[in-house]
């Protein structure tokens, strides 16, 4: 079957015309519909996003203290970041650790709950609402207080551990565990990927399962050979989005550590460091350089994900 691309249908009337269409008309005929639909985004991209982004790129080659004119310093910022900035390295370490653990854990949790909820149990809307509740909180100021109540030395977690004979540390303020409490916060707010997984699960046609059941495929086999493959586009989407979000993660650390990244810089997230440089230390030029380095790191991560997606993401195309 030859698949005629949509958007090409405007070509049809042009054929009967006696006037030879100009190259522009040809371009329009082939691309017009696409660009027409893309117009709002193009306006936003060129009007609101690209300009500020290019300015920040320029600023990354300057010293800009926010209050006075920027002065051109060439690649000084970048050189300093890569050669003489221990806090840059520390913030990279923290961020990579966070991405490495929070993203898979969050996705696994979201998928597991979505699968449980998708079994047609009674009270699904209630459960779904309950599991989404923590995500509603976002990065509310109240979270900071809450997390301390849970993870301080005399917090709820340790009170629960006490009967088991375990004397827990002060999780949130111990440099060895503090980052884990933030990972836990991120996993706790697994609502968004869960909803997306649920919607994805519901897109899987039921008859595929029925056919498989007739063929005698076991439940776990059905999961591995039907559910998961058909869900891969959604898994891919969630992984990309959560990955990018995790690299850019700012507010949880900002709120929990009071913007400091302590104890001993163990929760100094990349964007937290960037924010400190920009707004606490008035080094917007350096912050802009940090931002563009992060962009390249995320782009590499996303690019690699897209390259590998060919081998494991299943599209109906």
């Amino acid at each position: 079957m030859t698949v005629r691309p949509i958007g090409a249908e405007t070509e049809a009337p042009a054929i009967g015309h006696t006037v030879i269409p100009s190259r522009w008309a040809k371009f329009w005929a082939r691309n017009g519909a696409g660009y027409a639909f893309l117009t709002p985004w193009l306006l936003g991209f060129f009007g609101l996003t690209l300009g500020p982004a290019l300015i920040s790129l320029y600023l990354s080659f300057t010293n800009f203290n926010l209050l006075q004119a920027p002065t051109w310093v060439g690649d000084d910022n970048y050189v300093r970041i890569f050669t003489a900035d221990p806090r840059f390295l520390q913030s990279l370490r923290v961020t990579f650790f966070f991405v490495l653990f929070s993203v898979p854990l969050k996705l696994a949790f979201a998928l597991a709950v979505a699968l449980l909820l998708n079994r047609g149990l009674r009270g699904l809307p209630l459960y779904r609402a309950i599991f989404y509740l923590p995500s509603l909180l976002g990065a509310s100021v109240a979270i900071a207080v809450l997390w301390r109540e849970l993870f301080a030395s005399d917090g709820v977690i340790n009170q629960l551990l006490a009967p088991l004979g375990i004397v827990g540390p002060s999780w949130i303020s111990n440099p060895r565990y503090a980052l884990w409490t933030i990972i836990l916060l991120s996993v706790w707010q697994f609502g968004s990927p869960m909803i997306i997984f649920l919607a994805g699960l519901r897109q899987i046609p039921q008859d595929v399962y029925e056919a498989a059941a007739i063929d005698g495929a076991s439940k776990s086999r059905q999961f591995w050979s039907i559910t998961l493959p058909l869900l891969t586009p959604v898994v891919f989407f969630n992984a990309i989005i959560q990955g990018i979000e995790a690299f850019k993660s700012f507010t949880p650390a900002f709120i929990i550590s009071g913007g400091t990244g302590n104890p001993i810089n163990s929760t100094l997230f990349y964007t937290l460091y960037l924010y400190q440089e920009a707004f606490a230390y008035f080094r917007m030029g350096n912050a802009a350089a940090l931002a563009w380095i992060l962009l390249i790191i995320i782009a590499l991560f996303t690019g690699i994900s897209f390259l590998t997606s060919r081998y494991w993401v299943y599209y109906d195309e």
């Binding site: 030395s153 002060s170 001993i264």
Partner: protein, 429 residues
């Protein structure tokens, strides 16, 4: 290559908006002063009431106040200033005023003194506190001093007399041991771990005849000082008379509700004198304040009266004389100050102070008396800190935690921090 920042930003913005500028509403005939400050509702209520009084007396001036929490305040102010939209009246902090003044974001106020701005009755040391490189950039809104806030009930329970202004660092050890023996409230300690508290370090250094910074903007202490500082706190820590490193790290150096005294981990915390009321608000036990410990019986001059906050005028303001007139009213008017109270600190105009004093609540009286009765503990106001001093302050806490958690010895951390501080101060841009 050097481009004027505003031209550049405006230019690029204009390109993007393609001539959309020019829609800005024309300003009204009356003077509209925008005012921005950090603080809570209590401060906002008092300030707005004072503003109403001012507008009643000066009908042609309209005041629009905005307030934000500390963390949000500086991001908002920096963005507005960089965006060419700075408010006329800016509440400044003693440290940030240097950063803003050095970068020409604030207007020098000297030309208004004696005209719109009446400082005749104003404390001389507080005028000095608003100067950067000899020019006046901010008017102090209240004199303030560092102070130990003390949990009176806990000291009573432990059977230990409250520390007074003759308390020494040696006493921290004895009092701490008494607390441990009494074992109250699940092992509450007497003093907090102050090794990461910059004001405590500064106070200690000043008693040793040094300071955080010299008048030339160089580091005012050396490796030996800082090593001894970390050693002293390690001694307390090893003896178990201060909270564990984990507990102490709950205090991120910001919100008062995370201080050791508020969390019930210790019966004392290092704060500022005007925060007594705020600490009391989050605590059940009665609290009071006292001086920071002396380094020995004859240690003196550690404290100083610093501006708790200052009013500054943006260099971009179109209504500088009007703003100066408002500041003058704010610091000198008795009715306004009866409304404002000592919420921002002790008023710096003598006649205002006398008028306000009798109306104060007991705890405000305590703060007022504390600041005016420091005696030999009071020293001169230090020179304004150099640029990037804020970053040095922020780095002290993680360095002290390295020692506390055993990742570094005092002998390693002392020189390491001095080196780090020097690196930070030498950075440009």
């Amino acid at each position: 290559m050097r481009i004027r920042r505003r031209q550049f930003l405006l230019g690029s913005a204009a390109l993007i908006t393609a001539g959309a500028a020019g829609f800005r509403p024309a300003s009204a005939a009356e003077t509209d002063l925008r005012q921005i400050f950090w603080g809570g509702q209590e401060r906002a209520k008092r300030t707005y009431k004072a503003n109403d009084l001012y507008s009643a007396a000066n009908p042609s001036t309209k005041l629009t106040g905005e307030f934000y929490a500390w963390d949000d305040y500086w991001a908002k102010l920096a963005t507005e200033t960089a965006g060419g939209n700075a408010p006329d009246l800016i509440q400044m902090d003693y440290r940030y005023i240097v950063e803003y003044a050095n970068r020409q974001a604030l207007a020098p106020l000297d030309e208004f003194v004696g005209k719109e701005l009446d400082l005749a009755d104003f404390d001389k040391d507080q005028i000095e506190g608003g100067k950067v490189k000899g020019k006046l950039y901010g008017i102090s809104l209240g004199a303030n001093s560092v102070a130990s806030v003390l949990n009176e009930a806990a000291f009573k329970e432990a059977g230990v007399p409250l520390p007074d202004n003759n308390f020494t660092y040696d006493d921290v050890m004895t009092v701490g041991e008494a607390f441990n023996k009494a074992n109250i409230r699940g092992g509450m300690k007497a003093f907090q771990d102050g090794s990461g508290v910059e004001p405590a370090l500064e106070n200690w250094l000043r008693q040793r005849g040094k300071g955080l910074y010299t008048a030339e903007g160089k580091l005012g202490f050396d490796e030996q000082d800082l090593t001894e500082w970390f050693q002293m706190w390690k001694k307390f820590r090893d003896a178990g008379v201060i909270p564990s490193p984990e507990d102490q790290a709950l205090d991120t150096g910001g919100p008062l509700d995370k201080t050791m005294i508020a969390l019930g981990k210790s019966a004392q915390s290092f704060v500022n004198s005007n925060q007594l009321v705020a600490v009391q608000a989050i605590m059940k036990d009665p609290v009071t304040i006292s001086a920071f410990p002396r380094i020995g019986k004859d240690g003196k001059g550690g404290h100083y009266r610093k501006p708790s906050q200052l009013w500054s005028i943006a260099s971009a303001s179109k209504h500088k004389p009007d703003a100066a007139k408002y500041i003058s009213y704010f610091i000198n008017d008795k009715d306004a100050n009866l409304v404002l109270g000592v919420e921002r600190g002790i008023p710096c105009a003598a006649s205002v102070r006398d008028a306000v004093a009798p109306t104060l609540k007991a705890q405000d009286q305590v703060a007022l008396k504390f600041v005016s009765n420091l005696g030999d503990l009071l020293g001169p106001i230090p020179p304004p800190p150099p640029p990037n001093a804020g970053e040095v302050d922020i780095q002290l806490l993680p360095k002290s935690q390295e020692v506390a958690f055993g990742q570094a010895t005092p002998e390693e951390a002392g020189p390491a921090f001095v080196q780090q501080a020097k690196d930070i101060l030498s950075r440009k841009g």
